[in-house]
Amino acid sequence: MTSTEIAAVRPARTPRRSGPRNTLTRSSGLGLGIAMIWFSALVLIPLAAVVVTAADGGWQAFWNTITGPQTAAAIRLTVFTALSVTAVNVVMGPLIAWVLVRDRFWGKSVLEVMIDIPFALPTIVAGLVLLSLYGDADSPLGIDIANERPAVFLAFLFVTLPFVVRMVQPVLEELELDVEEAAASLGASRFTTFRRIILPSLTPAITAGAALSFARGVSEYGSLVLLSGNLPFKTEVTSVRILSSIENDNVVAAASVATVLLAISLAVIVLLDVIQRRVAARG
């Protein structure tokens, strides 16, 4: 199926590859120029300043900063927790998306709204919200993980909730039920149908959602402030490490650790771009 599709698409694509086209008119070119000046002043130059400042100290200083015991512990904790949260999201995200798309029941629209709450809620409020159930001495559940490692995991889990769900949902809505029914009528079990028919079409969306949720987890700050206590070697994450360097006026150290985070963000952006191209090429 896919090979014929690609064959059908290819002739249409080739002319575009012949070289970078430029269809800008004088006024749209001017608009692009103004937009680029603003985007550079706001985003590109400041982010470049982070990398340049980190480079100012030299490679050895950069390496010493990020491998210093406290910073290395913070980076390890952040990356490890973000990875495990992403693993949970890869399972729970498609599951929730499936329930939202395929199931019909009373109160489903409430679930739909709940998915977006972590995205819209101010991060500092998100921390306070989690604290009231999982970190209070008189928590109704009797759970108090404030200032413990699970608090970091919980905070990441909360703020990354929407990413995989929202990436998978539209793809699942577009899937034709007929193909699944055909598979079922040919004797495929529900599990086989899921593994051979549904999962392959969802994989790009799941990967993109996972990448976004990993990036969000690694860069999280606000929700941890009240919840995790920011204890060195225990619950201190990378963002907090950068902030304390800034507060101690050690800009080079702050920029060095920030460069590591920027590299992760860039890697995620590149991955997303590659996935987008793949999906677009598939039609």
Binding site: T23, L24, S27, S28, A35, M36, W38, F39, L42, V43, I45, P46, A49, V50, M92, I96, V99, R102, D103, R104, F105, S109, L111, E112, M114, A120, L121, P122, T123, I124, V125, L128, V129, S132, L133, Y134, F158, L161, L177, L212, A215, V218, S219, E220, Y221, G222, L226, S239, I242, L243, I246, V251, A254, A255, A258, L261, L262, S265, L266, I269
Partner: protein, 290 residues
């Protein structure tokens, strides 16, 4: 672009919304998955959020009203609103412009620009703050001392807070508008152009009306994100009481000073605004896609 449009129409036509429910078989798995999803979301989102409401009103409405009697708190709320409005205005103008350029024109470096525009979503707010301080810091920044010479203080002042907030909310409008613009195509505009409409007329009378729900949706998301920004603002603001302290910074301040009631009340106000934003979006969205 044209072939994706045809593709969309062909695909959405044979699958009307209403035909789906009777075709879904309800098996035990269906109910099990429904239960797992509901319990997960209840424990992670619904229950914790509802506790903030009950904690706020534990002693009646006093916690909320006393917020408005505290002059510093009123200033903080006003500052948050002021910054959010600026961020929405800037990002709407920039977002509409850049989305039109990305969809309607080809130029070298477009793919790179497209990817870079998503960067603010995945950069840590602390890194955003640090980056702005390095360039616009009054003492050692690349451009800060020059701007200070012109009498413009950016960092530890309102312009810095606006820049940090605008930075983190930048991609939201663009992500809303690009798919909408791709869907509407250019046929109507070309028709208008052949009838002699000027560029401004075409934008005002054809493009703008067809993307208006996308813009509304983008504004709502940008507003929610801007009101709630914390980390980036913390780095660039200096958190001066009554001057550069925003509502989100006040939540932290109050909680750390053992004013739990005040912290919950402020958090409740902020949460109300963001929940209102989501509900508005949920109501708008079906209309947009109908």
């Amino acid at each position: 672009m044209a072939d994706t449009l045809v593709h969309d129409v062909a695909e959405s036509a044979p699958v009307p919304e209403r035909r789906r429910p009777p075709r879904v078989r309800k098996t035990p798995t269906t109910y099990a998955l429904r239960a797992i999803a509901t319990v997960y979301l209840f424990l992670l989102v619904a229950w914790p959020v509802s506790l903030v409401v009950t904690n706020t009103f534990a002693d009646g409405v006093g916690a909320i009203t006393s917020l408005f009697e505290d002059p510093d708190m009123v200033v903080a709320l006003q500052l948050s609103a002021y910054v959010a409005v600026w961020s929405v205005v800037i990002n709407t103008l920039f977002g509409v412009g850049i989305s039109l350029l990305l969809v309607r024109y080809e130029f070298p470096g477009k793919r790179l620009l497209n990817a870079l525009l998503d960067l603010p979503l995945s950069v840590s707010p602390i890194v955003v703050g640090l980056a702005l301080v390095l360039v616009y810091g009054g003492r050692n920044g690349w451009l800060g001392p020059t701007l200070a010479g012109w009498g413009l203080e950016v960092i530890f002042s309102t312009p810095g807070i606006i820049m940090a907030t605008t930075f983190v909310a930048l991609p939201l409008m663009i992500r809303e508008l690009v798919p909408v613009l791709e869907e509407i195509g250019v046929e109507q505009e070309q028709a208008a152009q052949s009838l002699g409409a000027s560029g401004f007329q075409r934008f005002w009378r054809i493009t703008l009306p067809s993307i208006r729900w996308g813009i509304v949706y983008g504004v709502v998301l940008t507003l929610a994100r801007s009101l709630g920004e914390f980390g980036a603002v913390k780095v660039v603001s200096g958190n001066v009481l009554g001057q550069t302290r925003t509502a989100t910074l006040a939540v932290e301040e109050k909680y750390l000073n053992f004013d739990q009631q005040g912290a919950y009340a402020t958090a409740f106000l902020l949460a109300m605004v963001s929940v209102a934003c989501i509900v508005i979006v949920a109501i708008i969205r079906p209309k947009n896609h109908a």
